[in-house]
Symmetry: C2
Subunit: 229 residues, 2 copies
Amino acid sequence: MSTGDGIPWAAEADAQPDDTAPRGRSAARGGGRRPGQSGTKEQILTAALELFAAKGYSGTTMRGIAQQAGVDPALIHHFFSNKEGVFQDAVSARLDVAALFDSLTDADAELPPERRGERVVRTFLSFWEDESTRPALIAIYRTGLSDETTSKSFRDQIEDSFAACVRRLVPEETERTPAFASLVSAQLAGLVMLRYVLQMEPLASLDFEEVVEWFVPSIDVHFDRVAQG
Amino acid sequence: MSTGDGIPWAAEADAQPDDTAPRGRSAARGGGRRPGQSGTKEQILTAALELFAAKGYSGTTMRGIAQQAGVDPALIHHFFSNKEGVFQDAVSARLDVAALFDSLTDADAELPPERRGERVVRTFLSFWEDESTRPALIAIYRTGLSDETTSKSFRDQIEDSFAACVRRLVPEETERTPAFASLVSAQLAGLVMLRYVLQMEPLASLDFEEVVEWFVPSIDVHFDRVAQG
DNA sequence: GTCTATATGATGATAGAC
DNA sequence: GTCTATCATCATATAGAC
Protein backbone atom coordinates (compact mmCIF):
# COMPACT_ATOMS: atom_id res chain seq x y z
CA MET A 1 0.00 0.00 0.00
CA SER A 2 2.53 2.55 1.05
CA THR A 3 4.90 0.96 -1.41
CA GLY A 4 3.42 3.22 -4.06
CA ASP A 5 0.95 1.17 -6.01
CA GLY A 6 -0.51 3.83 -8.20
CA ILE A 7 -3.34 2.91 -10.49
CA PRO A 8 -2.41 4.17 -13.92
CA TRP A 9 -5.79 3.61 -15.41
CA ALA A 10 -5.17 6.57 -17.62
CA ALA A 11 -2.66 4.39 -19.46
CA GLU A 12 -4.96 3.81 -22.36
CA ALA A 13 -8.58 3.06 -22.90
CA ASP A 14 -9.21 0.41 -25.49
CA ALA A 15 -12.87 0.21 -24.63
CA GLN A 16 -16.15 -0.10 -26.40
CA PRO A 17 -18.10 2.94 -25.14
CA ASP A 18 -21.70 2.17 -25.82
CA ASP A 19 -21.86 -1.28 -27.23
CA THR A 20 -25.59 -1.62 -27.37
CA ALA A 21 -25.38 -4.54 -29.76
CA PRO A 22 -25.00 -7.83 -27.92
CA ARG A 23 -21.31 -8.51 -27.65
CA GLY A 24 -19.93 -11.76 -28.95
CA ARG A 25 -17.93 -11.48 -32.10
CA SER A 26 -15.98 -8.32 -31.63
CA ALA A 27 -13.57 -7.49 -34.40
CA ALA A 28 -11.36 -10.53 -34.80
CA ARG A 29 -8.12 -9.64 -33.10
CA GLY A 30 -5.10 -11.88 -33.11
CA GLY A 31 -6.63 -15.24 -33.72
CA GLY A 32 -6.12 -16.87 -30.37
CA ARG A 33 -8.76 -18.45 -28.27
CA ARG A 34 -11.84 -16.42 -27.67
CA PRO A 35 -11.74 -15.15 -24.10
CA GLY A 36 -14.57 -15.83 -21.71
CA GLN A 37 -15.41 -19.22 -23.02
CA SER A 38 -17.79 -19.97 -20.21
CA GLY A 39 -18.67 -16.43 -19.32
CA THR A 40 -16.70 -16.69 -16.12
CA LYS A 41 -14.40 -13.86 -17.04
CA GLU A 42 -17.30 -11.56 -17.73
CA GLN A 43 -18.80 -12.63 -14.44
CA ILE A 44 -15.65 -11.69 -12.58
CA LEU A 45 -15.46 -8.28 -14.22
CA THR A 46 -19.04 -7.52 -13.32
CA ALA A 47 -18.51 -8.54 -9.73
CA ALA A 48 -15.28 -6.58 -9.55
CA LEU A 49 -16.84 -3.40 -10.89
CA GLU A 50 -19.67 -3.71 -8.43
CA LEU A 51 -17.25 -3.95 -5.53
CA PHE A 52 -14.89 -1.27 -6.75
CA ALA A 53 -17.85 1.06 -7.05
CA ALA A 54 -19.15 0.21 -3.60
CA LYS A 55 -15.97 -0.08 -1.56
CA GLY A 56 -13.32 1.73 -3.53
CA TYR A 57 -10.03 0.31 -4.71
CA SER A 58 -8.28 -0.45 -1.45
CA GLY A 59 -11.49 -1.62 0.15
CA THR A 60 -12.03 -4.22 -2.53
CA THR A 61 -10.25 -7.53 -2.08
CA MET A 62 -9.51 -10.31 -4.51
CA ARG A 63 -11.25 -12.68 -2.12
CA GLY A 64 -14.27 -10.44 -2.09
CA ILE A 65 -14.44 -10.32 -5.87
CA ALA A 66 -14.10 -14.09 -6.05
CA GLN A 67 -16.89 -14.63 -3.56
CA GLN A 68 -19.17 -12.14 -5.29
CA ALA A 69 -18.54 -13.82 -8.63
CA GLY A 70 -18.83 -17.30 -7.15
CA VAL A 71 -15.40 -18.40 -8.33
CA ASP A 72 -12.09 -19.29 -6.79
CA PRO A 73 -9.75 -16.41 -5.90
CA ALA A 74 -6.92 -18.06 -7.80
CA LEU A 75 -8.93 -17.88 -10.98
CA ILE A 76 -8.87 -14.12 -10.87
CA HIS A 77 -5.11 -14.09 -10.76
CA HIS A 78 -5.14 -16.56 -13.60
CA PHE A 79 -7.12 -14.18 -15.79
CA PHE A 80 -5.90 -10.75 -14.75
CA SER A 81 -2.56 -11.39 -13.02
CA ASN A 82 -3.18 -8.89 -10.24
CA LYS A 83 -5.62 -6.49 -8.64
CA GLU A 84 -4.64 -3.57 -10.81
CA GLY A 85 -5.27 -5.68 -13.89
CA VAL A 86 -8.75 -6.49 -12.68
CA PHE A 87 -9.51 -2.84 -12.10
CA GLN A 88 -8.33 -1.67 -15.47
CA ASP A 89 -10.10 -4.43 -17.34
CA ALA A 90 -13.28 -4.00 -15.36
CA VAL A 91 -13.42 -0.28 -16.01
CA SER A 92 -12.35 -0.26 -19.63
CA ALA A 93 -14.71 -3.12 -20.44
CA ARG A 94 -17.67 -0.88 -19.75
CA LEU A 95 -16.48 2.60 -20.43
CA ASP A 96 -14.13 4.42 -22.73
CA VAL A 97 -13.15 7.32 -20.57
CA ALA A 98 -11.26 9.09 -23.30
CA ALA A 99 -14.34 9.09 -25.50
CA LEU A 100 -16.72 10.49 -22.92
CA PHE A 101 -17.32 13.63 -24.88
CA ASP A 102 -16.79 12.27 -28.36
CA SER A 103 -20.43 12.72 -29.16
CA LEU A 104 -19.87 16.44 -29.03
CA THR A 105 -19.15 17.34 -32.62
CA ASP A 106 -17.92 20.48 -34.24
CA ALA A 107 -21.51 21.19 -35.09
CA ASP A 108 -22.12 21.85 -31.40
CA ALA A 109 -19.69 24.73 -31.53
CA GLU A 110 -22.16 26.39 -33.87
CA LEU A 111 -24.84 26.28 -31.23
CA PRO A 112 -25.76 29.62 -29.75
CA PRO A 113 -24.03 30.10 -26.38
CA GLU A 114 -27.28 29.66 -24.51
CA ARG A 115 -27.64 26.12 -25.81
CA ARG A 116 -24.12 24.88 -25.17
CA GLY A 117 -24.49 24.46 -21.43
CA GLU A 118 -27.40 22.13 -21.84
CA ARG A 119 -25.53 20.18 -24.48
CA VAL A 120 -22.55 19.56 -22.21
CA VAL A 121 -24.65 18.71 -19.18
CA ARG A 122 -26.81 16.23 -21.08
CA THR A 123 -23.83 14.59 -22.74
CA PHE A 124 -21.92 14.15 -19.51
CA LEU A 125 -24.86 13.05 -17.39
CA SER A 126 -26.06 10.56 -19.98
CA PHE A 127 -23.18 8.29 -19.01
CA TRP A 128 -24.14 8.55 -15.36
CA GLU A 129 -27.79 7.87 -16.05
CA ASP A 130 -26.93 4.81 -18.11
CA GLU A 131 -26.85 1.80 -15.80
CA SER A 132 -24.28 0.08 -17.97
CA THR A 133 -21.68 2.79 -17.55
CA ARG A 134 -22.57 4.19 -14.12
CA PRO A 135 -20.78 1.55 -12.01
CA ALA A 136 -17.55 2.13 -13.90
CA LEU A 137 -17.82 5.87 -13.35
CA ILE A 138 -18.55 5.47 -9.67
CA ALA A 139 -15.59 3.13 -9.33
CA ILE A 140 -13.37 5.63 -11.10
CA TYR A 141 -14.51 8.56 -8.99
CA ARG A 142 -14.26 6.71 -5.70
CA THR A 143 -10.85 5.28 -6.51
CA GLY A 144 -9.58 8.52 -7.97
CA LEU A 145 -10.26 10.36 -4.76
CA SER A 146 -8.96 7.75 -2.37
CA ASP A 147 -5.41 9.04 -2.06
CA GLU A 148 -2.92 11.46 -3.53
CA THR A 149 -1.36 8.96 -5.90
CA THR A 150 -4.57 7.99 -7.62
CA SER A 151 -5.82 11.56 -7.41
CA LYS A 152 -3.03 12.69 -9.68
CA SER A 153 -3.95 10.50 -12.61
CA PHE A 154 -7.64 11.05 -11.95
CA ARG A 155 -7.10 14.79 -12.09
CA ASP A 156 -5.17 14.56 -15.33
CA GLN A 157 -7.91 12.45 -16.78
CA ILE A 158 -10.62 14.94 -15.88
CA GLU A 159 -8.48 17.74 -17.22
CA ASP A 160 -7.89 16.01 -20.53
CA SER A 161 -11.45 14.92 -21.04
CA PHE A 162 -12.88 18.32 -20.21
CA ALA A 163 -10.20 20.15 -22.14
CA ALA A 164 -11.21 18.23 -25.24
CA CYS A 165 -14.83 19.03 -24.52
CA VAL A 166 -14.14 22.70 -24.11
CA ARG A 167 -12.02 22.79 -27.22
CA ARG A 168 -15.02 21.56 -29.16
CA LEU A 169 -17.51 23.96 -27.72
CA VAL A 170 -15.43 27.09 -27.36
CA PRO A 171 -13.16 27.11 -30.39
CA GLU A 172 -11.99 30.67 -29.97
CA GLU A 173 -9.60 30.16 -27.09
CA THR A 174 -8.97 33.09 -24.79
CA GLU A 175 -6.96 33.44 -21.62
CA ARG A 176 -10.09 32.73 -19.62
CA THR A 177 -10.86 29.44 -21.32
CA PRO A 178 -8.85 27.20 -18.96
CA ALA A 179 -10.39 28.72 -15.85
CA PHE A 180 -13.77 28.41 -17.49
CA ALA A 181 -13.17 24.73 -18.14
CA SER A 182 -12.10 24.21 -14.54
CA LEU A 183 -15.21 25.80 -13.18
CA VAL A 184 -17.56 23.82 -15.38
CA SER A 185 -15.69 20.64 -14.49
CA ALA A 186 -16.03 21.42 -10.81
CA GLN A 187 -19.75 21.94 -11.01
CA LEU A 188 -20.36 18.81 -13.03
CA ALA A 189 -18.09 16.77 -10.76
CA GLY A 190 -19.93 18.02 -7.69
CA LEU A 191 -23.28 17.19 -9.19
CA VAL A 192 -22.44 13.60 -10.05
CA MET A 193 -20.66 13.13 -6.76
CA LEU A 194 -23.68 14.04 -4.70
CA ARG A 195 -26.37 12.62 -6.96
CA TYR A 196 -24.82 9.33 -8.03
CA VAL A 197 -21.96 8.55 -5.67
CA LEU A 198 -23.20 9.85 -2.34
CA GLN A 199 -26.84 9.68 -3.39
CA MET A 200 -27.78 12.70 -1.38
CA GLU A 201 -31.44 13.55 -1.18
CA PRO A 202 -33.42 15.02 -2.69
CA LEU A 203 -30.87 15.39 -5.45
CA ALA A 204 -30.59 11.65 -6.05
CA SER A 205 -34.31 11.21 -6.50
CA LEU A 206 -34.95 14.15 -8.77
CA ASP A 207 -36.13 13.35 -12.22
CA PHE A 208 -33.38 13.66 -14.79
CA GLU A 209 -35.13 16.44 -16.62
CA GLU A 210 -35.56 18.28 -13.38
CA VAL A 211 -31.84 18.06 -12.72
CA VAL A 212 -31.10 19.43 -16.16
CA GLU A 213 -33.59 22.22 -15.71
CA TRP A 214 -32.14 23.21 -12.34
CA PHE A 215 -28.53 22.79 -13.21
CA VAL A 216 -28.07 24.10 -16.73
CA PRO A 217 -28.62 27.77 -15.89
CA SER A 218 -25.69 27.71 -13.49
CA ILE A 219 -23.50 26.32 -16.27
CA ASP A 220 -24.78 28.85 -18.76
CA VAL A 221 -23.47 31.58 -16.51
CA HIS A 222 -19.97 30.45 -17.35
CA PHE A 223 -20.63 30.02 -21.05
CA ASP A 224 -22.02 33.52 -21.20
CA ARG A 225 -19.02 34.85 -19.39
CA VAL A 226 -16.44 33.11 -21.51
CA ALA A 227 -18.31 34.12 -24.65
CA GLN A 228 -18.21 37.80 -23.83
CA GLY A 229 -14.46 37.60 -23.22
CA MET B 1 -12.60 -4.11 6.43
CA SER B 2 -15.55 -5.91 5.06
CA THR B 3 -16.56 -6.63 8.63
CA GLY B 4 -18.32 -3.29 8.65
CA ASP B 5 -16.05 -0.84 10.41
CA GLY B 6 -17.93 2.30 9.64
CA ILE B 7 -16.45 5.58 10.75
CA PRO B 8 -19.18 7.30 12.69
CA TRP B 9 -17.39 10.59 12.90
CA ALA B 10 -20.77 12.21 12.85
CA ALA B 11 -21.26 10.84 16.34
CA GLU B 12 -20.63 14.18 17.96
CA ALA B 13 -18.27 17.02 17.53
CA ASP B 14 -16.92 18.16 20.84
CA ALA B 15 -14.30 20.25 19.15
CA GLN B 16 -12.47 23.42 19.80
CA PRO B 17 -12.86 25.06 16.40
CA ASP B 18 -10.11 27.62 16.42
CA ASP B 19 -8.15 27.33 19.63
CA THR B 20 -5.58 29.95 18.85
CA ALA B 21 -4.56 30.38 22.46
CA PRO B 22 -1.76 28.02 23.40
CA ARG B 23 -3.33 25.13 25.17
CA GLY B 24 -2.04 24.11 28.53
CA ARG B 25 -4.52 24.76 31.27
CA SER B 26 -7.78 24.08 29.60
CA ALA B 27 -10.73 24.30 31.93
CA ALA B 28 -9.83 22.11 34.86
CA ARG B 29 -11.66 18.88 34.24
CA GLY B 30 -11.65 16.03 36.66
CA GLY B 31 -8.33 16.61 38.26
CA GLY B 32 -6.35 13.79 36.72
CA ARG B 33 -3.06 14.14 34.96
CA ARG B 34 -2.85 16.74 32.28
CA PRO B 35 -2.89 15.10 28.86
CA GLY B 36 -0.19 15.78 26.33
CA GLN B 37 2.47 16.43 28.86
CA SER B 38 5.26 16.38 26.34
CA GLY B 39 3.29 17.41 23.29
CA THR B 40 3.56 13.92 21.91
CA LYS B 41 -0.19 13.53 21.67
CA GLU B 42 -0.47 16.68 19.62
CA GLN B 43 2.35 15.46 17.46
CA ILE B 44 0.54 12.22 16.76
CA LEU B 45 -2.69 13.98 15.86
CA THR B 46 -0.91 16.26 13.43
CA ALA B 47 0.85 13.37 11.75
CA ALA B 48 -2.37 11.39 11.61
CA LEU B 49 -4.33 14.20 10.01
CA GLU B 50 -1.61 14.68 7.44
CA LEU B 51 -1.74 11.03 6.47
CA PHE B 52 -5.52 10.72 6.53
CA ALA B 53 -5.69 13.72 4.22
CA ALA B 54 -3.07 12.32 1.87
CA LYS B 55 -3.90 8.63 1.81
CA GLY B 56 -7.45 8.35 3.01
CA TYR B 57 -8.68 6.27 5.91
CA SER B 58 -7.92 2.76 4.75
CA GLY B 59 -4.63 3.83 3.19
CA THR B 60 -3.41 5.21 6.48
CA THR B 61 -1.83 2.76 8.91
CA MET B 62 -1.11 3.02 12.58
CA ARG B 63 2.50 2.20 11.86
CA GLY B 64 2.61 4.94 9.25
CA ILE B 65 1.26 7.50 11.70
CA ALA B 66 3.79 6.39 14.29
CA GLN B 67 6.64 6.74 11.87
CA GLN B 68 5.47 10.13 10.67
CA ALA B 69 5.17 11.33 14.26
CA GLY B 70 8.42 9.74 15.29
CA VAL B 71 6.89 7.70 18.07
CA ASP B 72 6.23 4.06 18.81
CA PRO B 73 3.12 2.51 17.28
CA ALA B 74 2.03 1.19 20.65
CA LEU B 75 1.87 4.71 21.97
CA ILE B 76 -0.92 5.55 19.58
CA HIS B 77 -3.01 2.71 20.91
CA HIS B 78 -2.19 3.88 24.38
CA PHE B 79 -3.61 7.31 23.67
CA PHE B 80 -6.47 6.64 21.28
CA SER B 81 -7.21 2.92 21.71
CA ASN B 82 -7.79 2.29 18.00
CA LYS B 83 -7.60 3.71 14.50
CA GLU B 84 -11.09 5.10 14.56
CA GLY B 85 -10.27 6.93 17.76
CA VAL B 86 -7.25 8.53 16.13
CA PHE B 87 -9.32 9.67 13.19
CA GLN B 88 -12.08 11.21 15.24
CA ASP B 89 -9.71 12.96 17.59
CA ALA B 90 -7.50 14.18 14.78
CA VAL B 91 -10.41 15.66 12.88
CA SER B 92 -12.33 17.12 15.79
CA ALA B 93 -9.18 18.62 17.24
CA ARG B 94 -8.93 20.95 14.29
CA LEU B 95 -12.45 21.38 13.05
CA ASP B 96 -15.93 21.52 14.43
CA VAL B 97 -17.87 20.19 11.49
CA ALA B 98 -21.23 20.89 13.03
CA ALA B 99 -20.34 24.54 13.41
CA LEU B 100 -19.10 25.07 9.87
CA PHE B 101 -21.84 27.51 9.06
CA ASP B 102 -22.40 28.91 12.51
CA SER B 103 -20.99 32.22 11.46
CA LEU B 104 -24.03 32.66 9.28
CA THR B 105 -26.41 34.52 11.52
CA ASP B 106 -30.04 35.41 11.19
CA ALA B 107 -28.89 38.78 10.03
CA ASP B 108 -27.70 37.20 6.83
CA ALA B 109 -31.24 36.19 6.03
CA GLU B 110 -31.96 39.89 5.77
CA LEU B 111 -29.43 40.25 3.00
CA PRO B 112 -30.87 40.90 -0.43
CA PRO B 113 -30.96 37.67 -2.45
CA GLU B 114 -28.15 38.82 -4.69
CA ARG B 115 -25.76 38.98 -1.73
CA ARG B 116 -26.57 35.62 -0.13
CA GLY B 117 -24.68 33.52 -2.62
CA GLU B 118 -21.47 35.35 -1.97
CA ARG B 119 -22.02 35.08 1.76
CA VAL B 120 -22.38 31.31 1.63
CA VAL B 121 -19.48 30.80 -0.73
CA ARG B 122 -17.13 32.93 1.34
CA THR B 123 -18.15 31.31 4.58
CA PHE B 124 -17.71 27.79 3.31
CA LEU B 125 -14.49 28.40 1.42
CA SER B 126 -12.89 30.25 4.32
CA PHE B 127 -12.44 26.93 6.11
CA TRP B 128 -10.77 25.47 3.04
CA GLU B 129 -8.49 28.43 2.60
CA ASP B 130 -7.42 28.28 6.23
CA GLU B 131 -4.40 26.03 6.51
CA SER B 132 -5.31 25.02 10.02
CA THR B 133 -8.65 23.52 9.02
CA ARG B 134 -7.95 22.41 5.45
CA PRO B 135 -6.22 19.10 6.26
CA ALA B 136 -9.14 18.03 8.41
CA LEU B 137 -11.57 18.85 5.63
CA ILE B 138 -9.54 17.00 3.04
CA ALA B 139 -9.33 13.99 5.34
CA ILE B 140 -13.08 14.07 5.84
CA TYR B 141 -13.84 14.38 2.15
CA ARG B 142 -11.42 11.69 1.10
CA THR B 143 -12.56 9.31 3.77
CA GLY B 144 -16.20 10.10 3.27
CA LEU B 145 -16.04 9.11 -0.36
CA SER B 146 -13.95 6.00 0.04
CA ASP B 147 -16.78 3.50 0.32
CA GLU B 148 -20.52 3.17 0.77
CA THR B 149 -20.39 2.82 4.53
CA THR B 150 -18.49 6.02 5.16
CA SER B 151 -20.37 7.73 2.35
CA LYS B 152 -23.58 7.32 4.26
CA SER B 153 -22.52 9.26 7.32
CA PHE B 154 -20.64 11.75 5.17
CA ARG B 155 -23.76 12.38 3.16
CA ASP B 156 -25.85 12.88 6.27
CA GLN B 157 -23.29 15.27 7.58
CA ILE B 158 -23.31 17.37 4.42
CA GLU B 159 -27.07 17.30 4.43
CA ASP B 160 -27.32 18.48 8.01
CA SER B 161 -24.70 21.13 7.71
CA PHE B 162 -26.14 22.58 4.52
CA ALA B 163 -29.66 22.20 5.72
CA ALA B 164 -28.80 24.35 8.70
CA CYS B 165 -27.14 26.81 6.39
CA VAL B 166 -30.12 27.01 4.12
CA ARG B 167 -32.49 27.35 7.02
CA ARG B 168 -30.59 30.44 8.04
CA LEU B 169 -30.51 32.05 4.64
CA VAL B 170 -33.86 31.06 3.20
CA PRO B 171 -36.24 31.20 6.15
CA GLU B 172 -39.40 31.01 4.09
CA GLU B 173 -39.31 27.32 3.24
CA THR B 174 -41.00 26.21 0.04
CA GLU B 175 -41.20 22.87 -1.67
CA ARG B 176 -38.20 23.81 -3.75
CA THR B 177 -35.95 24.56 -0.81
CA PRO B 178 -34.55 21.03 -0.35
CA ALA B 179 -33.69 20.67 -4.01
CA PHE B 180 -32.16 24.13 -3.92
CA ALA B 181 -29.99 23.14 -0.96
CA SER B 182 -28.89 20.00 -2.77
CA LEU B 183 -27.83 21.88 -5.84
CA VAL B 184 -25.86 24.47 -3.94
CA SER B 185 -24.20 21.73 -1.92
CA ALA B 186 -23.25 19.92 -5.09
CA GLN B 187 -21.64 22.96 -6.63
CA LEU B 188 -19.69 23.84 -3.52
CA ALA B 189 -18.61 20.24 -3.03
CA GLY B 190 -17.41 20.03 -6.60
CA LEU B 191 -15.47 23.24 -6.27
CA VAL B 192 -13.57 22.23 -3.14
CA MET B 193 -13.01 18.76 -4.50
CA LEU B 194 -11.25 19.98 -7.61
CA ARG B 195 -9.52 23.01 -6.13
CA TYR B 196 -8.33 21.67 -2.80
CA VAL B 197 -8.48 17.88 -2.92
CA LEU B 198 -7.55 17.10 -6.49
CA GLN B 199 -5.76 20.41 -6.99
CA MET B 200 -6.78 20.66 -10.59
CA GLU B 201 -5.30 23.47 -12.61
CA PRO B 202 -5.84 26.24 -13.18
CA LEU B 203 -8.54 26.15 -10.55
CA ALA B 204 -6.12 25.35 -7.74
CA SER B 205 -3.87 28.30 -8.52
CA LEU B 206 -6.55 30.91 -8.97
CA ASP B 207 -6.56 33.72 -6.49
CA PHE B 208 -9.27 33.31 -3.88
CA GLU B 209 -11.03 36.47 -4.95
CA GLU B 210 -10.98 35.26 -8.52
CA VAL B 211 -12.65 32.03 -7.48
CA VAL B 212 -15.32 33.94 -5.64
CA GLU B 213 -15.87 36.23 -8.57
CA TRP B 214 -16.17 33.33 -11.02
CA PHE B 215 -18.19 31.07 -8.84
CA VAL B 216 -20.70 33.22 -7.01
CA PRO B 217 -22.84 34.05 -10.06
CA SER B 218 -23.56 30.38 -10.63
CA ILE B 219 -24.74 30.10 -7.03
CA ASP B 220 -26.82 33.22 -7.31
CA VAL B 221 -28.77 31.57 -10.07
CA HIS B 222 -30.19 29.19 -7.51
CA PHE B 223 -30.84 31.84 -4.91
CA ASP B 224 -32.75 33.85 -7.48
CA ARG B 225 -34.75 30.86 -8.46
CA VAL B 226 -35.70 29.79 -4.97
CA ALA B 227 -36.54 33.35 -4.08
CA GLN B 228 -39.04 33.73 -6.88
CA GLY B 229 -40.77 30.50 -5.78
C1' DG C 1 -10.16 -23.96 -16.69
C1' DT C 2 -10.55 -24.85 -12.02
C1' DC C 3 -9.10 -25.77 -7.59
C1' DT C 4 -5.95 -26.79 -3.05
C1' DA C 5 -2.21 -25.49 -0.59
C1' DT C 6 0.89 -22.29 0.68
C1' DA C 7 4.54 -18.51 0.62
C1' DT C 8 5.25 -13.96 2.27
C1' DG C 9 4.19 -9.91 4.10
C1' DA C 10 1.40 -6.05 6.32
C1' DT C 11 -2.25 -4.90 9.25
C1' DG C 12 -4.73 -3.63 13.88
C1' DA C 13 -4.42 -4.79 18.40
C1' DT C 14 -2.61 -6.50 23.09
C1' DA C 15 0.27 -7.73 27.15
C1' DG C 16 3.72 -6.53 29.88
C1' DA C 17 8.64 -4.87 31.03
C1' DC C 18 10.95 -0.60 32.33
C1' DG D 1 5.05 7.55 29.15
C1' DT D 2 7.58 4.67 26.35
C1' DC D 3 9.02 0.59 24.31
C1' DT D 4 9.70 -4.72 22.88
C1' DA D 5 7.61 -8.70 21.62
C1' DT D 6 3.92 -10.99 19.88
C1' DC D 7 -0.89 -12.56 18.32
C1' DA D 8 -4.43 -13.29 15.11
C1' DT D 9 -5.97 -11.86 10.89
C1' DC D 10 -5.99 -10.29 6.70
C1' DA D 11 -3.94 -9.23 2.24
C1' DT D 12 -1.73 -10.37 -2.59
C1' DA D 13 0.37 -13.64 -5.04
C1' DT D 14 2.32 -18.27 -6.65
C1' DA D 15 3.11 -23.27 -7.64
C1' DG D 16 1.22 -27.12 -9.01
C1' DA D 17 -2.39 -31.08 -8.95
C1' DC D 18 -6.43 -32.46 -11.60
